[in-house]
């Protein structure tokens, strides 16, 4: 294997379903493990993943998700989303995947920068204390673009 040309990964996480949050976390952490810089910008529903009260209660999407292989109407029944979420969490635990809160700690300790989107924070009427302590700050999208300050930077919207 050759040396990667990727030097920095910037992720924008706009969703709060477990599969999207973990996709962002695994990629951001994987980058750090390879010696690549990484940062995550949490916007819109992605903010749920860094709200102290909400981050351990994220769900997998059972409605409008064809890969669940269940009729959309069934996915909307009470309890189905909770059950699917429980099953997925169990599988992830088997793979030694940390829970959302612990994963954020690992990311922060690994040097991954965590940012909240100012516009979305204002829109949802959130305060700094509603968000995790590990957060590096609240930025505008312009501020976040300025984090792309070197060759080999890539930006990914999730």
């Amino acid at each position: 294997m050759g040396t990667t040309q990727v030097k920095k990964m910037l992720f924008i996480l706009s969703k709060a379903t477990i599969e999207n949050v973990y996709a962002a976390f695994v990629m951001a952490n994987g980058a750090r493990m390879e010696g690549i810089e990484s940062e995550i910008f949490f916007t819109f529903f992605g903010l749920e993943a860094i709200q102290k009260k909400k981050l351990e209660h994220l769900h997998v999407a059972t409605v409008g998700n064809p890969a669940m292989h269940m009729p959309t109407m069934l996915g909307g029944l009470p309890g189905v989303e909770a059950l699917a979420t429980k099953m997925m969490k169990k599988e992830m635990e088997k793979l030694d995947m940390p829970a959302v809160g612990e994963f954020l700690e690992i990311l922060s300790d690994s040097g991954c920068k965590l940012w909240a989107c100012k516009l979305a924070v204002d829109m949802f009427h959130l305060k700094r204390e509603d968000l995790i302590d590990e957060l590096d700050g609240i930025l505008t999208i312009g501020d976040f673009y300025s984090r792309a300050d070197q060759e080999g930077t890539h930006l990914l919207f999730i």
């Binding site: 695994v26 994987g30 493990m33 390879e34 010696g35 030694d96 940390p98 690992i106 300790d109 040097g111």
Partner: protein, 102 residues
């Protein structure tokens, strides 16, 4: 691939990882560390011992495992082995690169 290091010949793969742990010794580790601009301290050796133990017991290595190891925290781990701590520390310790994504 053959590689001559610290007056011995070792077999390595294309990424530089030792193919046979029996060929590893502390002198080789020091030289491999130098190639990554690391000079090994007591703390480095403690980590190397820990990950070699894990390898001998066939336990998978992960960053989360390091966090719960009681040997060091993740910040220290990144500080000791810059440029991808699991990758670099296992190379120096003479064991295969972990297959873990987390």
């Amino acid at each position: 691939m053959k590689k001559v290091i610290a007056q011995s010949e070792i077999d390595v793969n294309e990424e530089g990882y030792l193919l046979d742990f029996q060929q590893w010794n502390k002198k080789i580790a020091e030289e491999l560390a130098k190639e990554h601009n690391i000079s090994l301290t007591d703390k480095h050796w403690e980590v190397i011992d820990y990950i070699q133990d894990k390898y001998k017991n066939e336990e998978p290595l992960s960053v989360r495992g390091i966090k719960n190891s009681g040997v060091l925290d993740i910040k220290e781990f990144y500080g000791l082995f810059p440029g991808g701590p699991l990758k670099v520390s296992t190379l120096i310790a003479g064991i295969p690169k972990p297959k873990s994504c987390i």
